[in-house]
Symmetry: C2
Subunit: 457 residues, 2 copies
C-alpha cells in the first residue's frame, strides 16, 4: 500500500503543504461541533499524528473513529496547531479494520500485571512501544559496537550435548514421545534425534572460546536457557545473552572492554531514544535520565573481592546475611557496594575460586580466580566475566577437583593443547540491561513473550 | 595484554617506523642461513603478517616457530619487501603456547569432510576464517538494513506451545527425565516445566505478525529449529532465520522489500569482504564475484506460478518430475526457471492455495494465495514470503479446512479482530544466504557447530 510513515509526516519539514496518505491505528478520538480529531500511530514514531477532520466538508464512518480501529487517511500536511511537528488535514478517511468495544486495551490506566495476560495486545500501549524501541536500539548498538571494533559475530549452537558447569538446570531437547517405550536410558537416547542426550545451551562461552582462539575477537548475541524453578522479577527460562570473548586479553583488558561497551550502549540509548526515556523518566522511574547520563560519563570503580568483604564486614549488622571471606555476595551486599559505598558502577574482582566456575584463571595466590562481576546501582550484577585458565594442567586439575569428565571437554582442552593463549570475556544479560535503561522492574515487561516456570502464553 | 591488531600493523601507514607488539598464531615458518620468516595470524585480517627474524642478532625458541604455536613479537614495522602492506622486523619473539606435532591442522591440503570432524580446530584455516568473516559481515548488514529503515528488531520466543502449521517436525523441550513415571500424557505435561507440551519454534512469523500490528515494521533474526530426519547439504536442525514483517504491506510491497534487502546484503559483502571473495572465487566457486556483482545490479524477474507452470510444462520431457498446475515446484524446476529461463533471480508468485500455508492471503480467483518464493541461480529457493490473510472469516475458514484448532490460535485471530490491517513478510534462511555468497556447497561448512540428525559434535 502506498503510504508515508507517520514519523516522516510528523518531522520532515519538506512534507508541509503536500498531500499524502498515512495508515495507522486510532489511539484517541475527540469530537466537537465543527471539528473532530483522530490521533494515529503506525509504530514509526513515539509521538502520535493528529488528524483534523472538518465535519462541514467530510463525514467519517463512526467505526473509523473507534479506539484500536485501523484506518488510511488521505490529507494535507500542515504545521501542528499545538506542539511540535506537523498534523494532517483529512480529505478522506478509509476504514481498514474495525475494532469492537470488547477490545481490552482501553484508555483507562491498567496495571502491567493485567497486561501480562495479553502479550499480543499489550504491545499497542505507549509503555511497550517505548520498551521495545529501547530494546531494538540497544541491540543495534551492541552489534555496531563490536562490528566497528573488528569482532566476528558468531552464532553459538543452542542445542548442545555438553553442559556449561554450574550454570543451573538445563532443558532437554528430544523427539521421543512422552511415553517412549525404551527399557534403558542408553536405548532411549540411542534412538533419539541426535543419538545422544541433548539440551538447550545455558551459555555460548565455551564455543566462544573456540572461535576467539581462531578469529581473535568474537561476540555472540543470542538466546540462552535456564530451566530454573524460580519465579522472580529478574529471571527468565529463555533470555538473550551477549558474550564477547577476546584472545590475548587478561582480566584488566576484559574490565576495560566491558566498561567501554556498557558506556557506549547507554550513550546510544540516550541519544537515539530521547522521547522514550522522557516517558520512562516521567511515568516509570523518576531520575532515570540523570542516572543513565551519570553512568555514561563516570569512570567505573574497581575493587577486589577481598577489599569488598573487608568493607562489608564492618556493616554486617545491617545485612540479613552477614559476610565473611569465602561467602558469595548476596543481592543486599552488591547493592550496598554500588549504591552506598561507591555510588557508581563497580567491578568486583578476584573472587575465591570455590565460588566460581572451573574455567576461570587461577591467580598466583592459590586462593582466588581472575573473575569479575560488574555491579550497577539499582539492579546489582549486570555483567559477569573472567580471564580463562589457559594452562592445560591447571585446567585439568580444576576439573578433577570438581569431578568433571575430561572426555566431555575434549575440544575445550584442545584449545589449551594447541597454541594456547591468554583470553577472556564476559556475559551481559540483555533483558537486564533493557530493564536498567527503561526502569522497568519486571523482566517479563521487557520481553515479547516471556517464558518462566508454568508460563508459556 | 598490550598489543596491536595485525590488521592495523599491516595496513595503517602511520605504523611504519614505529616499534610495536603483535600477538598471533604461527601459520608458516621458513628458514634460511641468515634470515627466518614467520607468518602470523590473529584473526583481525585475512592476510598474514610476515615477521622477519635476523638470525645473526636474534635467536628464537624452536617451539615458537611450530605451526599453530602462539607467540608475541616485539619489533619494528617496515614496508613489506614483497606484496602489500607492512611487515615486522623482530626484536624479540616470546612463546605463549606450544603446539605439538599431533596438531591436526597441517599445511597439506585436507578435505572439508575431514575438517568437519574437528569443528573447534577447522576455524583456524583460511577457508573457515573467510566463511565466518562473510557470515559476520552479512549479519551486520541485515541489522543495519532494517534499523536504518525504522524496523524494530524483535526476539520471537524459541520455546513455544504452538506450532507454525506445515513447517515440519518440532523438537520437544522438557525437564522430565527420560523415564518419567506418569500414566497419562496429561499428567506428564502438567508436571513438566511449563505445565503444557512445549517445543522449539520453527518460525517467528506468528509472533512477528503480533509485533508488526503494533510497531508497524519489525524483523526477527534468530534461530529456528526443524527436527527433520533428512541429511542433505541444505538442511540443518538448527539454523538462523531472518523474518521481517510489515504492516500495511501487500504482496508487491513484500517483493520490493525482499529484492531491495537481498541486493543490499550482496553489495555489503562485495564491499566489505573483497579479499575473502577473491579467495572463494579462486578456490571454491569460479566466477563467484561476477555472479554476486550481477545480482547486486540486476532487477529481479517476477512471474506468476501459473505462467511458470505453463513455461515448464513445455519442457516436461527433461524433468524427472513432470509439472502440472497444482503440483509443488521441485528443485529441478526452480533451477530451470532461474538459470535457464530468466538467467537471474525470479520471484514466483500466487501459488495454488492447496500447496501453501493456512495464513496466506486468499486471492480473488478462489484458487491461489498471495505467496512468493524467490529463486536464485545456483541455489534455488532462498526466500519465501506472502501477504497474510487479514480477514477474520476467511482465515477461520482456511483453518477449518485444515482441521486446525481455533483455540491454539486465539492470539493470532485477535489480530484480525481488533484493527486488522493488510500485512506481509518473508523469511530468509541465513545459512543459505552465506552459502550463496561464499560458494560453499554444504551448509555444515558455513555453520560453527552444525546440528543435524545424529550429529551434535
Amino acid at each position: 500500500m502506498k503510504h508515508t510513515d507517520i514519523k516522516k509526516v510528523l518531522f520532515d519539514a519538506d512534507m508541509v503543504g503536500t498531500d499524502t496518505v498515512v495508515c495507522g491505528w486510532v489511539r484517541t478520538f475527540r469530537d466537537s461541533a465543527q471539528v473532530a480529531f483522530l490521533e494515529l500511530s503506525d509504530g514509526t514514531a513515539f509521538q502520535k499524528l493528529q488528524v483534523v477532520i472538518d465535519k462541514n466538508s467530510l463525514s467519517v464512518d463512526p467505526e473509523a473513529t473507534k479506539l484500536g480501529a485501523s484506518v488510511c487517511v488521505k490529507g494535507t500536511v500542515v504545521p501542528a496547531f499545538r506542539g511540535t511537528g506537523s498534523e494532517l488535514n483529512a480529505k478522506e478517511v478509509i476504514l481498514l479494520g474495525k475494532c469492537p468495544p470488547e477490545y481490552p486495551i482501553q484508555k483507562k490506566r491498567t496495571t502491567l500485571e493485567f497486561l501480562r495476560g495479553m502479550p499480543h495486545l499489550r504491545l499497542r500501549t505507549n509503555t511497550f512501544a517505548a520498551v521495545f524501541r529501547v530494546r531494538s536500539v540497544a541491540a543495534q548498538a551492541i552489534h555496531r559496537y563490536f562490528h566497528e571494533r573488528g569482532y566476528y559475530y558468531i552464532n553459538a549452537p543452542l542445542i548442545t550435548a555438553s553442559d556449561c558447569e554450574g550454570a543451573g538446570e538445563m532443558f532437554r531437547v528430544t523427539t521421543q514421545p512422552w511415553n517412549a517405550p525404551y527399557k534403558t536410558e542408553e536405548e532411549y537416547y540411542k534412538n533419539d534425534f541426535f543419538g545422544v542426550k541433548a539440551g538447550l545451551s545455558v551459555s555460548g562461552q565455551l564455543e566462544g572460546e573456540v572461535a576467539a582462539t581462531a578469529f581473535g575477537k568474537i561476540y555472540t548475541f543470542g538466546p540462552s536457557f535456564r530451566a530454573e524453578n524460580s519465579n522472580t522479577t529478574r529471571h527468565l527460562a529463555e533470555f538473550w545473552h551477549v558474550e564477547p570473548e577476546i584472545a590475548f586479553a587478561e582480566l584488566p583488558d576484559v574490565i576495560e572492554i566491558a566498561e567501554d561497551m556498557l558506556r557506549y550502549l547507554v550513550r546510544a540509548v540516550l541519544e537515539e531514544c530521547p522521547e522514550e526515556l522522557k516517558f520512562f523518566d516521567s511515568f516509570v522511574e523518576k531520575g532515570l535520565i540523570e542516572k543513565l547520563t551519570h553512568v555514561a560519563n563516570s569512570d567505573f570503580a574497581v575493587c577486589s573481592y577481598s577489599d569488598a568483604v573487608a568493607l562489608l564486614e564492618k556493616e554486617n549488622a545491617r545485612f540479613e546475611f552477614p559476610v565473611h571471606w569465602g561467602s558469595d555476595l548476596q543481592s543486599e551486599h552488591e547493592k550496598f557496594l554500588t549504591e552506598v559505598v561507591f555510588k557508581r558502577p563497580v567491578f568486583v574482582t578476584d573472587y575465591p575460586k570455590e565460588i566460581k566456575a572451573f574455567y576461570m584463571k587461577q591467580n598466583a595466590d592459590g586462593k582466588t580466580v581472575a573473575a569479575t562481576d560488574l555491579l550497577v546501582p539499582g539492579i546489582g550484577e549486570i555483567i559477569g566475566g573472567s580471564e580463562r585458565e589457559a594452562d592445560l594442567e591447571k585446567l585439568r586439575t580444576a576439573m578433577k577437583e570438581r569431578g568433571m569428565s575430561e572426555d566431555a571437554y575434549r575440544q575445550y582442552l584442545d584449545l589449551r593443547r594447541f597454541g594456547s593463549v591468554p583470553h577472556g570475556g564476559f556475559g551481559l544479560g540483555f533483558e537486564r540491561f533493557v530493564m536498567y535503561c527503561t526502569g522497568m522492574e519486571n523482566i517479563r515487561d521487557v520481553t515479547l513473550f516471556p517464558r518462566s516456570v508454568k508460563n508459556i502464553m
